[in-house]
Symmetry: C2
Subunit: 208 residues, 2 copies
């Protein structure tokens, strides 16, 4: 048993993924489980299925943001709602994220971009967020954008999205371990448990 690597699939336009991006390094350190960060383009899958789950003003969108707000508060993660949603250019955010993962600075970029989005109200993937996040982590904006938007990197993102489709991902973040998919920031603990024990352990709350 004891597979110690979890594929962490996400799209940088995903709101709940703010929680995951902020807490994943701590979870990895606390549990000893490694995560492979894999950006993909969830919007492509939504478009293929003719479905966008969070239209502006819908009850589901309102619930989604309240849920994130509560969970951020419980975890001590700063958040300043409302934030712009959906992102005007999640594609660029994902392309930069993927390039960064391959070059080694992707996690820092993703976390910087999410902080600006959810704490300062700047949409990820466009300026001023894009320039400021890259500057913060010491990456040259022109070089990064040139490589990120080149055909090779676009093809790489498409290939990752193809994998995501083939394994049946339905949302972001998703954690995949041992062929099992766990969808949602709130399933991170389940994925960790599965990685360790090949099963879930669900505790029933007891009187306290």
């Amino acid at each position: 048993m004891a597979q110690r690597v979890i594929d962490y699939w996400f799209t940088t336009g995903s709101t709940h993924n703010y929680l995951t991006a902020m807490r994943l390094p701590d979870v990895a350190a606390a549990t000893g489980v490694a995560f492979r960060w894999r950006p993909f383009d969830l919007r492509t899958l939504f478009d293929e299925r003719g479905y966008f789950p969070f239209p502006k003003g819908s009850p589901k969108t309102a619930y989604m943001f309240r849920d994130i707000e509560r969970r951020a508060a419980a975890r001590g993660i700063p958040i300043a709602l409302p934030v712009p949603y959906p992102l005007p250019d999640s594609m660029t955010a994902n392309l930069v994220a993927l390039l960064g993962i391959r070059e080694g600075w992707g996690i820092d970029y993703i976390r910087a971009a999410y902080r600006r989005w959810f704490q300062e109200g700047q949409p990820a993937g466009t300026d001023p967020n894009l320039s400021a996040s890259l500057a913060e982590i010491g990456q040259d904006r022109e070089r990064v954008l040139s490589l990120a938007t080149a055909a090779a990197n676009r093809d790489a993102l498409t290939a990752e999205t193809d994998v995501a489709r083939s394994i049946g991902l339905v949302g972001s973040p998703s954690f995949v371990v041992d062929g099992e998919v766990f969808w949602g920031d709130d399933r991170l603990e389940d994925a960790v448990t599965w990685a360790r024990h090949g099963t879930l352990a669900c505790a029933t709350p007891t009187r306290d």
Copy 2:
């Protein structure tokens, strides 16, 4: 703080609600929190929003059933997949459930109907499930169906669905406490924590 009653909103056509219906009495006993069982017609809200989340053969439907299967196994809840879905007549199941809640035998009916659906493959709300579940709990089929499908009970279900809409419910089961909505069987523990403490307590998993 310490509100000790949680409104448990559900529709009897909901798959994840199988888990909740099976474990809720144990959770109530273990935690001292009371639950008010409130059936409503989620299908009406889906229809209004032009949206059905689980089309046959979709990745989301496949994920949903695998998720339920894993969680049932972890909790020791018997399950025999595949089961018929969606229900051909969830309306009747909800009407009977609501009548039963008001007459005092609803919880027994709901659990009996779910067991036949998820353990024996009989859709809830139609025969043989309907007759057998009512017989099991000692209710007369003709009397129950006559009252359940009468205008007064239909109006009562519509009124509950109106409340569900007005508080922004987006799925089943949903737990409402103190004006806060927690959607999903996997949020039951959060609702219990909120009922006790007015906040969430999210543990980070630690190395074991």
